[in-house]
Amino acid sequence: MNLKLRYFAWVRERVGKPEETVEVPPGIATVAELMTWLASRGEEYAHAFNNAKIIRAAIDQKHVRADALIKGAGEIAFFPPMTGG
């Protein structure tokens, strides 16, 4: 499955790029599983996703929980808790 990923704030800084398109291996069904797989892709990813519990995610620009299914997603974003306003 081909998936566009976007990273913001310190997730972006740690991964080292604002976005990329990845080929997600079969068997990865949820956002949480996707983060676990990402963390295995190298040191910078491990650093970004080693505390996955505090990372928020959005599928196609809507906030989702870690147990959300990624099937059908066009774009998935990862970022720290928001600090706008």
């Binding site: 704030a9 956002v31 949480a32 906030h63 929980r65 870690a66 959300a68 928001m82 706008g84 306003g85």
Partner: protein
């Protein structure tokens, strides 16, 4: 309801935004304006600037969705939200929320509701630039608590935890 939602890097003029929403109207009885301003220090340390990163597209749609939610809860006559991104120096404005209603209670409640949600759900991230370097601002538990008091049924809108 007259709605304006805008993201921009340049400073806004709150007075111009209020006039755009309200001038010439005789149905508005109460106007509440909230302006968030960049302070010159944080935790006692002087700061040089804030840098706001945002998620283009999602930020606008999140704000618009919350404006629509506010309009369901209170009988509003107009809402304007302007949120800046990029570099912001101390004394400069960051965010503007204007709410108009017939009566003050509704205008106050809607403005607080929108600010609480902007703080916790709008995809913006603040980086603070101090003498010892740049660092990302941590989300505050107090803001989560503030947002929770509105007890919105948020569907898939929860944090990934």
């Amino acid at each position: 309801m007259k709605v304006t939602v805008r993201l921009q890097s340049e400073p806004f003029d709150a007075a111009v935004e209020v006039a755009r929403l309200a001038s010439g109207r005789t149905d508005i009885g109460a106007l509440v304006t909230f302006t968030g301003v960049c302070r010159g220090s944080e935790d006692g340390e002087p700061i040089a600037a804030l840098t706001l990163e945002h998620y283009p597209g999602m930020a606008e749609s999140e704000i618009e969705r919350h404006v629509a939610e506010a309009n369901k809860r209170w009988p509003l006559l107009g809402v304007t939200v302007v949120h800046r991104y990029g570099r912001i120096e101390p004394g400069e404005n960051i965010v503007l929320v204007v709410t108009a209603s017939s009566h003050r209670q509704e205008a106050f409640a809607a403005a607080e509701f929108l600010m609480d949600y902007l703080k916790t759900y709008a995809p913006f991230w603040k980086q603070v630039d101090k003498a010892d370097g740049k660092s990302w601002v941590d989300a505050k538990a107090i803001d989560d608590t503030a947002a929770e008091r509105w007890s919105v049924s948020r569907g898939g809108h929860e944090a990934a935890e």
